[in-house]
């Protein structure tokens, strides 16, 4: 039987999460967030919901899925709350619960992490192809959409941002050991 509150579980699942209780509701996170305007609740709002025990509202919120891990909120938070890390915890919880509004976020994450596991780093060209082939095949038959993506791809290539061959890091096995350990931790009941 689990007598912990939702708030407690989020705190426990996040390194440094105990600092969450000292949130002042000042809004530096919401103001600093590049995706703040698209979120249905700003991080500060999510923390207020967490404190109030609104589990469903939190897990069905799009907020964690719009987090781009820039860490601007975390570096500016006057109470030194690991905000970005809490967003990761919430994403994990939402996935385990099968309870999230934006399936594409998870579907995008899967091929991304697949490349990281195989090669130790992201491979954008492969990621874009794989994501669209498996999850959005119709994009290939929409001329405007296809053209726009092509233009962006060409632009990125011109700036050396889209290499066509994947690269692999040295000592990949060590990274894989770390990732396996992380997965083992993630599979613990704290996310269940």
């Amino acid at each position: 039987m689990n007598t912990q509150t939702f708030f407690d579980r989020v705190v426990e699942a996040t390194p440094g999460g105990e600092r969450l209780s000292r949130c002042l509701q000042c809004g530096s996170c919401g103001g600093s967030c590049p995706s703040g305007a698209d979120m249905d609740h700003t991080p500060r709002g999510i923390f207020a919901l967490l404190d109030g025990g609104f589990e469903e509202d939190v897990l069905s919120s799009n907020t964690p899925w719009y987090c781009v891990s820039c860490y601007a909120c975390t570096t500016r938070c006057p109470q030194q709350i690991p905000i970005t890390d809490i967003m990761y915890t919430l994403k994990q919880m939402a996935i385990h619960r099968g309870h999230y509004e934006h399936p594409h976020a998870a579907k995008f994450s899967e091929p991304f992490i697949g490349f990281v596991e195989q090669r130790g780093r992201s491979f954008e060209a492969g990621l874009a192809t794989r994501y669209h082939l498996f999850h959005r095949p119709r994009d290939f038959f929409q001329p405007m959409q296809f053209f726009k993506m092509g233009m962006m791809g060409a632009n990125m290539m011109r700036h050396n941002r889209l290499p066509l061959r994947p690269k692999t890091i040295r000592e990949l096995d060590e990274l894989q050991a770390i990732l396996n350990e992380a997965k083992a931790i993630a599979d613990q009941e704290v996310y269940a």
């Binding site: 703040g36 609740h41 500060r44």
Partner: protein, 672 residues
């Protein structure tokens, strides 16, 4: 007194739930009967209450106790209380020992009741074993010099100086800058009444400068403090002003003729200029100028001397040297004030990058009628009146990345700024705040007034101030980005001018100054008072008091109140004429002293002299603080510290080592 004749009473305090909530106090009191020479052992809800103290007095008489142990809080808190109780019962107050089972047991082990109880028993055992070796001691009475040193000539220091001087005692007021007045002299209006800061401060400055009982030592710093309450010797360095004050009339010809213009980063916060020979502001006290040798042309090139040429009274002296003054005083009040937070440390606020981001002190100078813009609210170009102004609260305050504390004054001065902008321009004003704190008399009413004047209040800590525009209405403006937390949306507010309400910080050299005066700095770096509620202006060093913002952020009324409070404390000490010094001092067994003089140099208080005639060292009991350095250093082991003798310390260690789980008399005790 033989060992068997010693009769100890033990009192274990509950301190309400503070101790009894964790430590089984009844069991500790019961168990204490196992300790040597314990005649009576009791527990009590509050030993510090009069009933607790009276219990000691009654028991001493009824059971003929010779020694007393109280197990309760820190000696810092109540050692004096219980020594007085013991003294009232007819015993020497030093035949008493305190075991700290609150800070050292219940408070630090709240989750381990058994462990905390065992520790309390060990601490009680240590105290009982120790007290059996205590000796009668008599405090030394020393005379108190009536002169008072006040360090810092801000409003708190000035207030304290005037109170002491009015009472008829002499005050030395030491100020680092060329004039007294402090930060308050820079301000324009004061909240919430909006009276002019200079108008209310300058009369006090003038009084302090002309009072027959006050000696002003401006452009001076305290270098060393020796001695003890009643008899401090203080070395003050008077920096060379290069101007003879006895000749100077303050006519101003010198700074008019001085060709060297310097940006005034102190009084004008970098917005205005002064000359290399300067008086910080027109109402300065004393009215005499000083030469800043760092910027003076003569000290750089060997030429110029314009001021000297034009001085009608020949008051300029380029060869003047720093002067060392030794003062003899009985009490010291430290009122060294605060520093303002440097907002360059928060890069996203763009101070120093965006020219129209101002600090609060810069804005104070701007709105000051005697300031660089004659009181007009204008942008850094000195001409344009802003159409919109943002005031950012909590810059460097309430932020664990910089200062965790609330600076206490920013909400109110930000409201004052909002009012002044509204009064002098047509601009829209936006206050960005986390929480509004308007906690003193008339403050909430002032908030109300500013709300009625139409200032906007946006609840959200500002994330950044940027000139990167997203929309046409942002062109040429500074954009303040924040979440409006009350509507849960990001906002971008374009404004012409941003004012950063910067934090009050401890002085950069606060720690060094604290060390010089034998006082402490807390977590936040401000000086520590002896008790946060009941003794707010005293310090752990007898005879040294603190007042004003050096103790913590505070506004003018609070700083003035503390100045008066510190003066009252000093006056009460002076009126006692003499003070009792703790008899905890070192003594040297001169018969066995080899005269090696090691202790002479080790003593941090210069309390040990070498007596040439007898070839031995001798402790000056009035200077000795009982620190024990010499006791440890003496190679012949002939120095002993009263109340900290070898016997006492060894007995204390023996006591703490007893097995607290054994429930039988440790040494045959005479039971009642």
């Amino acid at each position: 007194m033989s060992e068997n004749e010693k009769r100890v009473g033990v009192y274990v305090c509950h301190c309400g739930h503070n101790i009894a909530g964790t430590v089984d106090v009844e069991h500790v009191a019961e168990w204490a009967y196992n300790l040597p020479n314990v005649i009576i052992s009791r527990d009590n809800k509050f030993m510090c209450a009069s009933t607790g103290q009276e219990q000691i007095e009654e028991d001493v008489k009824e059971f003929n106790l010779t020694h007393v142990v109280v197990a309760s809080c820190s000696p810092h808190m109540h050692e004096k209380t219980f020594r007085n109780a013991v003294e009232r019962s007819g015993l020497n107050p030093y035949l008493f020992e305190m075991a700290n089972i609150r800070e050292h047991a219940s408070w630090v082990h709240p989750d381990d009741q058994d462990g905390a109880t065992s520790k309390a028993k060990a601490l009680v055992s240590a105290a009982v074993h120790r007290v059996l070796h205590h000796e009668e001691l008599t405090p030394m009475q020393v005379e108190i010099r009536p002169e008072v040193l006040i360090v810092g000539g801000g409003v708190a220091g000035i207030q304290a100086a005037l109170e002491v001087a009015e009472a008829g005692h002499h005050v030395y007021l030491v100020e680092r800058e060329p004039s007294i007045g402090g930060h308050m002299a820079q301000l324009d209006k004061t909240f919430p009444t909006l009276d002019c800061s200079a108008c209310i401060l300058t009369p006090k400055m003038f009084d302090a400068g002309s009072h027959p009982n006050i000696t002003l030592l401006t452009y001076a710093e305290v270098e060393q403090v020796d001695g003890y309450v009643g008899n401090f010797t203080v070395r003050v360095r008077k920096k060379a002003k290069m101007v003879h004050e006895d000749l100077c009339t303050g006519c101003g010809t010198c700074w008019e003729k001085c060709p060297k213009k310097v940006i005034d980063t102190v009084f004008e916060s970098g917005l205005g200029y002064r000359k290399a020979i300067y008086r910080p502001f027109p109402q300065a006290v004393p009215k005499y100028p000083v030469i800043d040798v760092e910027t003076c042309i003569y000290y750089d090139t060997g030429k110029c001397r314009a001021c000297e040429k034009f001085c009608p009274t020949d008051a300029i002296d380029f060869e003047m040297q720093d002067e060392i003054v030794n003062l003899e005083v009985g009490n010291i009040i430290v009122a060294t004030g605060y520093d303002l937070f440097d907002p360059r440390r928060i890069p996203q606020y763009g101070y120093g990058r965006h020219e129209n981001v101002f600090t609060s002190m810069e804005f104070e100078r701007l709105v000051n009628a005697a300031g660089p813009s004659d009181g007009r609210v204008v942008l850094r170009d000195g001409e344009t009146t802003p159409q919109s102004v943002a005031i950012i609260h909590c810059v460097g305050s309430r932020d664990k990345n910089y200062n965790g504390h609330c600076s206490a004054i920013c909400c109110m001065y930000s409201l004052k700024f909002a009012h002044l902008v509204k009064e002098r321009t047509e601009a829209e004003v936006y206050n960005f705040y986390i929480d509004m704190r308007t906690i003193a008399k008339g403050y909430e009413e002032f908030y109300d007034r500013v709300l009625e004047e139409g200032a906007h209040f946006i609840r959200g800590k500002v994330s950044e101030i940027t000139d990167a525009t997203h929309a046409s209405e942002e062109e040429g403006k500074l954009v303040v980005v924040a979440e409006d937390t009350l509507i849960g949306k990001q906002r971008r507010v374009p404004v012409d001018m941003v004012i950063l309400a910067v934090a009050m910080e401890p002085r950069a050299d606060a720690e060094e100054v604290a060390h010089r005066f034998g006082i402490g700095c807390g977590d936040t770096g401000f000086f520590t008072e002896r008790h946060p509620k009941l003794d707010p202006v005293a310090t752990v060093t007898e005879g040294v008091y603190i007042a004003g913002a050096c103790q913590g952020p505070k506004d003018i009324p609070d700083a003035v109140a503390q100045g008066s409070a510190a003066a009252a404390r000093v006056l009460s000490v002076i009126s006692q004429r003499e003070v009792a010094l703790e008899p905890v001092r070192a003594t040297i067994d001169e018969e066995h002293c080899s005269g090696c003089r090691i202790c002479n140099t080790m003593c941090p208080y210069h309390a040990i002299d070498f007596i040439e005639a007898d070839s031995v060292s001798r402790v000056n009991p009035a200077l000795c603080k009982g620190c024990g350095t010499c006791v440890a250093a003496c190679p012949s082991q002939v120095i002993s510290g009263a109340h900290f003798t070898f016997d006492q310390l060894i007995a204390e260690i023996d006591g703490i080592m007893v097995d607290v789980n054994i429930d039988e008399p440790l040494v045959a005790a005479e039971m009642v």
